[in-house]
């Protein structure tokens, strides 16, 4: 049996497998960019935070991203943010004239496009 025809037959199958694999796993650039969608439990106000795993930023601020938490400091408005991936709780600490001020919101990570 000639080896070349076998390769010719297998090539389209290999291409299909690769294509399916690519569809199953989104573009790595997209996966690295996600949205943290947050809701204040008292007011119902919602807002988004852009999380970039590749650049390791949250809303363009340097972020400490681990499997358990995402932490960052908003250098513009002030405030230290900590998102607990397990509980979905976002804790915000602001400095005030009597010390720290805490706010707690509920958040979830969603794909960037949604």
């Amino acid at each position: 049996m000639d080896a070349m025809p076998a390769v010719t037959r297998l090539l389209p199958i290999a291409l299909i497998v690769v294509a399916l694999g690519a569809l199953a796993h989104p573009d790595p650039v997209d996966a690295e960019t996600m949205t943290l969608r947050c809701t204040n439990p008292f007011s119902g106000t919602t807002w988004d935070v852009a999380i970039d795993h590749g650049r390791r930023t949250a809303d363009s601020f340097p972020a400490d991203i681990t499997d358990k938490t995402i932490k960052w400091h908003d250098a513009t408005r002030g405030g230290h943010y900590e998102f607990d991936r397990t509980s979905g709780e976002l804790t915000v600490i602001y400095a005030s004239s009597t010390g720290g001020v805490f706010l707690r919101d509920n958040c979830r990570l969603v794909p960037a496009a949604s």
Partner: protein, 488 residues
Amino acid sequence: MKQRISAVIGIVLVAALNLLPCVPALAQNPPAATTSPETTAQAAAPAAAAATGTWVAAPAWLNPGNNAWQLAAATFVALQSIPGLMILYAGLVKRKWAINSAFMVMYAFASVLVVWVLWAYNMSFGPKWFPFLGQPGPATSAGFELSQATIPEAASGMPDLTFPMATMTYFQFVFAAITVIILGGSVLGRMSFKAWVLFCPLWMTFIYTIGCFSIWGGGWLAQAGAVDFSGGYVIHLAAGVSGFVAAWVVGPRLQADRDHFPPNNLLIALAGAGILWLGWNGFNGGDPYFANADAAGAVLNTNICTAVALLTWTTLDSMVYGKPSIVGAINGMIAGLVGITPAAGYVNGWGAIIIGLCAGIIPWLSMNKLQKTAFMSKVDDTLGVLSTHGVAGLMGGLLTGVLADPAMLVYLGTGSNAPGASTTGWAYGNFKQFGLQLEAAVFIIVVNAIGTYVLLKILSFFVSLRMDDATLQVGDTAAHGEEAYSPH
């Protein structure tokens, strides 16, 4: 000769301190971008009226009610020092030290104000220099005094303030001044007045500012989430620890004075105590910086806690010593006032009662048991500042981490800031707050213990920290050429 050397060194030190503001940025103007009062006033004036010329009482950002309350609260706190603590100390000490004790208070009040406006205010509340210290700079220009108040590193957690920087600077000054004055209660009856003259501005510059900026000025402890509503740590724990260290380094009173040190005028002391109690309405009620609901809550909680602590202390005195003591009642009152200070606007009324009970028991045990042990009594803490301020402040700060009620909103919040600014204690499910309070306490204790020790040791090279024995025998007449009560 030694006096001349001391005088020269004193002048050099003061000159060096005066140069300090020139080192980093000269914060003559307000740190954050704010609209100048003149511009705002012009903008607020109706266009038609502007054409014919008119006057506007205040810029649009100024709220007369908040400004009036803040100035009144500041004055209440100032009254706690002069005459409050001035006559409380003068009345509680032995007759021969009444003038010296009162004078130490009056001098501290004046010297701290000068240091405060020249550089220390901005080291405590100005732009960040280090995570634990602001940039030194004067708070004296017209542009600074009349501009809208702000604490640049702590602005994110509070609404825009509605009074001028002059109000803020004075309000914070009276807290700074009373801290050194409280500390002085530990060294009454023997510290050299010359040493005190140098110690007050130096301690204010190098020690107080660190704790103040770290917690109140938006420094690292505030950024981490530690809280201190009105100074349980910044003022009372700092004064208690520094006072105890100072009492140790300066050395004790004459043994005869330690053995026999009767109050010379308890009625005067009671008048001072009364001013202290009611003045605390400004002390704790002024810290939200607005005449708001939390300010009212803080005032009520302050009085609840104080009453409970006084009654508890008096009960313990009666049980242990067989009769109630008015000096004990004053100590119980102070312990209650101090205990609620870090918590006043964070806890509810029940929390205030619990803190009051603890303030009547724990500082009592500290003063009547701990400070009377052989080891602790080697340090002559004249008025027991370690117990009534240090221990009570520490206890109150830790209990804030337990009892802070998240429903006690210091400021209301909308949108993503709803329901508002508050603190949640361990009793409400947030153990982390207790840990933060503990961390802050350790920092304040370490900074004050080491800082005060080093400062006094350096000072001792230039000036004698303790009066000589001949002066100690005589008292006021030898130290000041004056005495409280005329012999004629």
